[in-house]
Symmetry: C2
Subunit: 167 residues, 2 copies
């Protein structure tokens, strides 16, 4: 707890422009930290954040097709496709042609892909765990509430669908 970002008062000023600006800056700097550890691991192997996101959600939704992944990630096809191609070439992801619908490619992590996923998410969870411990359980609940309120409605749906197991 570093400051209130306010020049004088106390109680309701979490809605002052200055307070809001501090929240914006906190998001910016926190996101740098949030991605720092995975970025290091990825850089060693010549990958970027896009690879991380693909690996994360393929692990989360094994067997998802490309369109599903596109909807979750909110990027365009070619961005994802390029990343997928390298991951498949490198043997981290397997694309199985659909049996019912042969247009679909069902995506799975290989053993090597799962190993990288573990390495990445362990690093990111370690930082998250440390931050949660430092801030305490009450703070964590508030953190999650504000983040959810900040999402676009569509993103919130995708976020909820991940929890519910919806594909």
């Amino acid at each position: 707890m570093a400051d209130t970002g306010s020049p004088g008062g106390e109680s309701l000023l979490f809605l002052t422009d200055e307070q809001l600006r501090r929240g914006i800056e906190a998001m910016f700097f926190a996101y740098q930290g949030f991605t720092a550890d995975p970025d290091r691991i990825l850089a060693e192997r010549g990958y970027g954040r896009a690879h991380h996101r693909a690996i994360h959600f393929i692990n989360r939704r094994p067997g998802a097709n490309v369109n599903t992944l596109l909807a979750i990630l909110g990027v365009t096809k070619q961005s994802l496709n390029r990343v997928l191609r390298t991951l498949i070439e490198d043997g981290l992801v397997e694309a199985r042609v659909g049996t019912r619908d042969k247009r679909e490619r069902h995506l799975h992590l290989t053993e090597a892909g799962a190993a990288l996923e573990t390495e990445l998410s362990t690093a990111q969870r370690d930082r998250m765990r440390a931050a949660y411990k430092a801030a305490g359980p009450g703070a964590v609940a508030g953190f999650r509430q504000v983040l959810e309120a900040m999402m676009d409605p569509e993103a919130l749906k995708r976020y909820a669908a991940l929890r519910d197991g919806g594909s």
Copy 2:
């Protein structure tokens, strides 16, 4: 408040892997929302997030030189330079040669630059304000605590320096 992300229990499981994973996903989706409104405004003018960050911090630290801005943003010179060049060409930023040290360029927003800054930060603050209102004051405090705990130590210093007025 959508879920606890947990399969069964209640009290201490904000530290389970699943809970941590949900926090990671919340950060991902929330950051999309966080940048969505400014991104739209910027796209209209052919700018990107890098321009936004430069404008934000030049507004925050008028007269800062390029090196100071580099330290705040945590990017390399060329990334910033390219963005600064376009902003200067477009008349949004003014670079004044230092009087004491002629190597330095002191950066200021022009009137047009300040107008764009207001437009961008108003949009972003509006969303932040809505999220804060929806989550409530207690949640906001927790949100800020977790974000600060998530920053790298160097980033936390830069963040604090912005509050303190340090350059």
